[in-house]
């Protein structure tokens, strides 16, 4: 468990600061790439929510699995996926995490336990409980974490998965990222009752609220409940309150937002909050600045590399479909 009085604690938080900054840089530079017409599809940014994925994954091992959703860049980076390969994926280039087959919504890196972003809401949950079941069956000492948006807690599979996790006592953590919006809809208006924590508790699942913009708070609770899961404590639920600073998707003009809301929330965003704390706790401003600079440099280089990388051969479209019946894919001549 995190010991926040230990002497290396600021260093631990600085590590998380680095990850958060890397994610932020990735999202900002991906947006530039999108605006420049380099991204074939669209992107969903994680800006303002970095603390959650970062602090949760800081408590996971490489052998643990995560399942993500459409807003998956931050989860992937936090779990250790390579940002350059991710940027190549966004640009549909050779060397992309999925070889250019998937794009932003289908980033996965199985080598670090990132089992995939997902374009269909809530499917990460049902697959997540299955992955946890596989770990149990294979007797592997690892756990699964599933990230789910607040809007998605109104889809049926969310509930089925919580029930399922409980009855089979699976080693799984559900992290609900409550950024107050589902696309253009304020989730409060379409979500009955006290909210996600109460819903999880209705299945007898231990559930916790956390300030998702405070990386240290998320770290502390994640550390505690993940240890608990590893020790056989069964499924746990973490409800992290945050705010989606950017539009839902790269094309979104956010006409539905009350004026001033975004600005107000910028004041609460996790990275500067973390920087403030670090500076108060012995990390120099210079170190912060150099962290920032190297994060942005890393991602700019990644974008350069992605731009320089070749496009895959179009004929790769016929690869990796399935083993059986490959003769009959009906290739265009």
């Amino acid at each position: 468990m995190t010991n926040n009085t230990a002497s290396n604690y600021p260093a631990r938080i600085l590590e998380m600061y680095k990850t958060m900054t890397l994610i932020r840089a990735f999202e900002e530079i991906a947006e530039e790439a999108f605006d420049a017409g380099l991204v074939n599809g669209s992107i969903h940014q994680y800006i303002g929510e970095e603390a959650i994925g970062t602090a949760v994954c800081a408590n996971l091992r490489k052998t643990d699995f995560i399942l993500s959703n459409h807003r998956g860049h931050g989860h992937a980076i936090a779990k250790g996926a390579n940002p350059e390969a991710m940027m190549k994926e966004l640009l549909g280039k050779v060397g992309g995490t999925s070889g250019g087959k998937g794009g932003s919504m289908h980033i996965a890196d199985f080598s670090v336990g990132m089992l995939g972003a997902n374009g269909v809401l809530a499917d990460g949950l049902t697959m997540g409980v299955g992955a946890a079941q596989a770990l149990v069956l294979r007797n592997v000492d690892a756990i699964v974490t599933v990230f789910v948006g607040d809007g998605t807690t109104n889809r049926g599979p969310f509930y089925e998965s919580l029930n399922w996790a409980m009855i089979y006592e699976l080693p799984i953590l559900f992290v609900c990222e409550n950024n107050t919006y589902a696309s253009s809809t304020s989730t409060r208006k379409v979500t009955a009752g006290p909210g996600p924590v109460a819903r999880a508790e209705a299945f007898g699942m231990p559930a916790y609220d956390v300030d998702g913009n405070d990386v240290r708070e998320v770290d502390e609770i994640a550390s505690k409940i993940i240890t608990n899961i590893r020790n056989g404590g069964g499924p746990q639920f973490l409800h992290a309150k945050t705010y989606r600073i950017k539009g839902h998707v790269s094309r979104d003009k956010m006409l539905y937002r009350p004026e001033g809301e975004t600005e107000a929330n910028w004041k609460n965003e996790p990275i500067s909050r973390c920087a403030d704390w670090l500076i108060k706790n012995g990390i120099s401003e210079a170190e912060i600045n150099s962290t920032n600079a190297s994060a942005y440099k890393e991602i700019r280089d990644a974008l350069e590399a992605a731009i320089a990388a070749p496009f895959p051969d179009g004929k790769l479209a016929y690869k990796d479909v399935q083993d059986l019946g490959n003769r009959y894919l009906g290739e265009h001549s």
């Binding site: 669209s42 374009g119 998605t152 696309s183 496009f311």
Partner: protein, 331 residues
């Protein structure tokens, strides 16, 4: 009456608004319907909530099963809902309610009830949409007894068909093409102009070859006809518009004349709707065919993301032309 230029998204919106004005029992439900720029960037519902209020333009939670199921229940209970699942890909989350309930209720209850509802589920490859945002599933619903399936190609189709879909007592799967939401076209402003479901439109008369298609492929086929013309082939282009029922009269007539048929579809060719048309024409028009029916469609692979692969995957005008010419080489 006059013709107005507007996008297909606006044409459907106009059609819906006219029907909502005409009949207070018509209403719409789906995710992000009530916000400007909500959900998709096409503004299919822009402003409707201001005119009709939140009891008739219902912004729903992310609950596909219930969007579809509630629409069925509301249809059975005397209203005429338009349920928007936004994309056929998400429509997969509500196949049960559509196929097991909407399609069967009239039948299995012996005619006691009707299910007058429209399900909007956009189809088609969207640039960079990849595997889960670019699927075309019309063949599934054509295969499902009890359902009507329409797929507009032009803004005029879009408006006329949504109005007819709302007025019929049958459940209608209304499949727009995501790539055509922002395509502009001429649309009648007469609220009484409908397009009969089951009636195809002949977009171009021709004598050597019939190309049957629907949705975006009808527009590509029309382009193909231009090129073919310059090469001395006169292609008749039929935009089906309605996939079930489909306009056999018009197609039989055309094929009887041309003796050659190509079906151009954007969806996966294997077990796609083109197979049904091909089999049907073989069965019913075999004597008129100068050569066997050809099909073109997507390969049997998921939709890839990266542009070169996406281009490899797509059914293009060039590919339609190439396939069309095959009908003029040895059978």
């Amino acid at each position: 009456m006059s013709m107005i230029t507007m996008t297909q998204a606006a044409a459907v919106r106009e059609g819906l608004a006219e029907e909502m004005r005409r009949d207070p029992l018509v209403w719409a439900l789906g995710e992000d319907l009530s916000t400007a720029h909500g959900g998709t960037s096409a503004d299919q519902y822009l402003g409707l909530i201001d005119e009709f209020g939140d009891k008739r333009i219902v912004n729903t939670p992310i609950s596909e099963n219930t969007i579809m199921g509630a629409a069925v229940g509301a249809a059975v209970a005397g209203t005429r809902p338009v349920a928007d699942l936004r994309m056929a890909d998400f429509g997969m989350c509500a196949v049960d309610e559509l196929v097991n309930q909407a399609a069967k209720i009239r039948y299995m209850f012996g005619g006691q009830a009707r299910v007058p509802l429209v399900v909007r589920q956009a189809i088609g490859v969207r640039k960079g949409g990849a595997a889960q945002h670019s699927q075309s599933t019309e063949a599934w619903y054509i295969h499902t007894p009890g359902l009507v399936v329409v797929a507009p190609a032009t803004a005029s189709d879009a408006k006329g068909l949504i109005k007819s879909a709302i007025r019929t007592d049958d459940p209608v799967v209304y499949m727009e093409h995501k790539d055509l939401w922002l395509a502009e076209g001429q649309v009648s402003d007469n609220p009484n102009d409908l397009i009969d479901i089951g009636k195809a439109s002949i977009m171009r008369q021709g004598s050597d070859l019939t190309i049957v298609s629907w949705s975006k492929m009808a527009l590509l086929s029309l382009q193909a006809a231009d090129q073919l013309k310059s090469e001395g082939i006169s292609a008749e282009i039929i935009n089906l518009r309605s996939l079930w029922p489909w306009d056999k009269d018009t197609i039989y007539k055309s094929v009887s004349k041309t003796g050659r048929l190509l079906v151009a579809q954007e969806s996966v060719q294997v077990a796609g709707f083109g197979a049904e048309i091909s089999a049907d024409i073989s069965e019913n028009l075999n004597h008129s065919l100068k050569t066997y029916v050809r099909r073109i469609g997507a390969p049997r692979t998921p939709v890839p993301y990266s542009e070169p692969m996406e281009n490899e995957y797509r059914v293009t005008t060039t590919r339609i032309i190439k396939k069309a010419k095959e009908l003029f080489s040895a059978p």
